[in-house]
């Protein structure tokens, strides 16, 4: 019973914070920020399926984020607002095909070689997007992407993306605690042992890669609807890089760590960016402190204090 209650708490906070956004200071700007947070939150959570759970550091997940955004954006722009939803549905399917291909190629390598290859693929996609002016409009990006009337307006679109993201995150959460999730964790801890149990490490890694990439692509597709403008820098390595930063900031060991990281990152960028252009300096210092003193991120700090108080209360903390 206690366990169930404990499981529910993060979800209650999740609904309180992101549902509450609608009532904070009349909406407007904060709803706009909240949209970015939940969409990037989905990106970071699905990235963490690979990184925190399976132990695979992909430096190229921006490829799928950009892919999702460009499929949705180009379809809605050329065929009209009604195709926005269809494109959004097609996004995970395309991402599955692309990620099976790229995953099969890059998962043959391990460790840093895997990381470099994912980076190379993402940069390739970025290069194509920049150069293929006729199709993607290159560095100009795509603007004025139309949406169906029902999704127009800040609040409507927020509710829509909130629903989609919540459903996706719930799926990933169930996955996280399923037997499949345990196998992924096993692969991270000791992949040789997983082989000894007769399971294929490669297949599990590939499936994790495909799942992670498809949900990332959904996040990208949703992003195309926020402002109706997308740009090739969604494919760029700095995009993958900041998702890694956000995940580490929040804590990659907990399921909700990445979302917390994204929330703090986006709010900090908003607040610090108002008064100074040295925003990257500030985030750099924060990251430095986090990595040096709290290597497990914000989730790690919370766990640490949780254990501390639990011990004070006389309870025995069984790991």
């Amino acid at each position: 019973m206690m366990k169930r209650y404990k499981d529910l708490v993060p979800w209650i906070i999740y609904f309180l914070v992101f549902g509450g956004m609608l009532f904070v200071r009349g909406g407007g700007h904060y709803v706009h920020l909240a949209m970015q947070i939940i969409i990037l939150g989905l990106f970071a959570t699905s990235f963490n399926v690979l990184f925190g759970k399976t132990g695979l550091l992909s430096f190229g997940q921006a490829l799928f984020y950009g892919l999702g955004a460009y499929i949705t954006g180009m379809a809605a722009k050329s065929f009209g607002p009604d195709y926005f939803m269809w494109a959004l549905l097609a996004v995970p399917l395309v991402a599955i095909v692309v990620s099976i291909l790229l995953g099969a190629l890059s998962l043959r390598l391990s460790d840093v070689y895997f990381t470099m290859l994912t980076l190379a693929f993402a940069q390739l996609a970025w290069g194509i997007t920049i150069k293929w002016y006729g199709l993607t409009r290159g560095d100009d990006g795509i603007q004025a992407i139309p949406k169906p009337a029902l999704l127009t307006g800040n609040v409507n679109y927020y509710l829509f993306s909130f629903l989609v993201v919540t459903a996706c995150i719930y799926f990933l959460w169930r996955l996280d605690r399923s037997p499949f999730g345990s196998v992924l964790e096993g692969i991270r801890q000791n992949s040789l042992r997983v082989t000894f149990t007769g399971m294929s490490v490669f297949r599990h890694q590939l499936l994790a890669y495909v799942i992670s990439s498809s949900f990332t692509a959904i996040a990208g597709g949703l992003y195309a609807g926020i402002d109706g403008s997308i740009h090739p820098d969604m494919f760029y390595w700095t995009m993958s890089g900041s998702i890694i930063l956000m995940t580490i900031l929040g804590g990659m060991s907990g399921f909700f760590g990445p979302i917390i990281g994204v929330t703090i990152f986006v709010l900090l960028e908003d607040m610090v960016g108002r008064s100074t252009e040295y925003w990257s300096f500030v985030i750099g210092i924060i990251m430095l402190i986090m990595v040096m003193i709290f290597p497990h991120g914000i989730i790690g700090i919370a766990t640490y204090f949780g254990k501390f108080f639990a011990r004070k209360g006389g309870q025995v903390d069984n790991p």
Partner: protein
């Protein structure tokens, strides 16, 4: 553990109530410029010029005794971030105007925000012709010239120069570079100039090494090399090409961003003589009272000479103030648009006897383009070379005609 999480998240919610606000009873302008990275200098110069312009305007006074108040925020040259800031300016800070933007990609995204919220956006520093063509919307105005105007003036210059026209083109491989070549070719066609393009070279933006391009250009043996580089790329290219003696073998012409002052200060003694360069603003031309005053004021305030970006930002503020004076307030957006559509404004870059004005159909400032040739001149240190022997190209001859706008609509849609 969960209690701690609650504490942290509620602290976050508290943070949401934090915001920096403008003082009341002012006319608010939200400016977006890159303040760091490659475009950082343009942002810094723009901010300094905005201060000068705001002081001038506030000293003269505005209707109702109101004051202008401008906030400048770093757009990080990222379209997504710039859109967030623009929306915050409008919904939180309740600004009356948006202005600025160096990157065309950022401007294309911000103009959509301006359209959605019906807030006037005054572009001061981005060149893409598309903003006043395909992406045109009625709340957008641009006070700096677009690449079409620069390239059309360039085509006229090359026509007057006479001689055979074996031309090679080099420019960054993205819309800004590609547009310039298309516009030059269109200009030649319109003027009836027969040009023979012997080579097109497309290095990527911020390419560190141009050696292979330089040898290929020399091998193509053009009479004129037309360049469409931007910012620091020009400096890198000129330094490397000089080592290969490229400037002795052909003429070098660079119309949109070649004659920017920051180039001369970066090149110093390395600047070759006889380059044909144009810019959106020249510190030593035209020789009018307005331009001299502007340059002197800027130099006094910052201790350096302005890059072209400063003039754009300066004019942007005067332009907004002039419209507010005409309408009598800063709230009636539709009336302000009307006032801006018929606006005439004396810019520092205007030659004697000419006043720039807004083209009501495209909301593009109709202005003169001046092209000069590099020569020794150390009156504007740290530059050792400046432009001289200027030629002015009249505003009405270098505006994009309807035919070109139609062509853009066909090819870019």
């Amino acid at each position: 553990m969960n209690r701690k999480l609650v504490t942290i998240l509620s602290a976050l919610l508290l943070c949401l109530t934090y915001s920096v606000s403008f003082a009341a009873e002012t006319i608010k302008i939200g400016a977006l410029y890159p303040m760091s990275g490659r475009g950082g200098l343009y942002g810094q110069d723009s901010e300094a010029a905005i201060k000068i312009a705001v002081e001038e305007v506030n000293a003269k006074g505005l209707p109702g005794g109101k004051k202008l108040e401008v906030k400048v925020i770093d757009d990080q040259s990222k379209p997504a971030y710039a859109v967030t800031v623009a929306k915050r300016y409008i919904t939180e800070d309740k600004v009356n105007f948006l202005m600025g933007v160096v990157s065309s990609a950022v401007a294309l995204a911000v103009t959509e925000v301006s359209k959605e919220y019906k807030t006037i956006f005054v572009g001061t520093d981005h060149g893409a012709t598309d903003l006043t063509a395909n992406a045109f919307q009625k709340y957008y105005f641009r006070v700096n010239n677009n690449t079409y105007q620069s390239m059309m003036a360039g085509a006229m210059y090359l026509k007057e120069m006479g001689g055979s026209k074996k031309i090679a083109f080099i420019g960054p491989d993205y819309a800004y570079g590609r547009d310039q070549l298309a516009e030059l070719k269109y200009g030649f066609k319109k003027l009836g100039v027969k040009a023979d393009f012997v080579g097109e070279f497309w290095p990527k933006l911020y390419e560190p090494d141009y050696t292979s391009y330089i040898t290929a250009i020399i091998a193509a043996k053009p009479d004129i090399l037309v360049s469409g580089f931007w910012g620091g790329d020009t400096v890198a290219f000129i330094k490397q090409a000089k080592a290969y003696g490229l400037f002795k073998k052909m003429k070098y012409a660079h119309f949109d961003a070649g004659g920017n002052y920051e180039l001369f200060s970066a090149l110093g003694d390395d600047c070759p003589e006889g380059l044909i360069l144009g810019s959106k603003h020249h510190n030593n031309w035209p020789d009018t009272k307005e331009n001299k005053q502007f340059v002197a004021k800027f130099h006094k305030a910052t201790g350096r000479y302005p890059s072209y970006a400063a003039q754009g930002a300066y004019v942007g503020i005067l332009f907004i103030a002039e419209a507010v004076k005409k309408v009598g307030n800063a709230e009636n957006t539709e009336a302000l648009v009307k006032a801006m559509e018929g606006m005439k404004l004396k810019m520092p870059e205007d030659p004697a006897g000419f006043t720039s004005f807004i083209d009501p159909a495209t909301h593009q400032m109709v202005q003169t383009e001046s092209i000069g040739i590099t020569e020794k001149n150390s009156k504007y240190p740290p530059a050792k070379y400046m432009l001289g022997k200027f030629k002015d190209y009249p505003a009405d001859k270098i505006m994009p005609d309807q035919e070109y706008i139609d062509l853009l609509k066909k090819t870019k849609k």
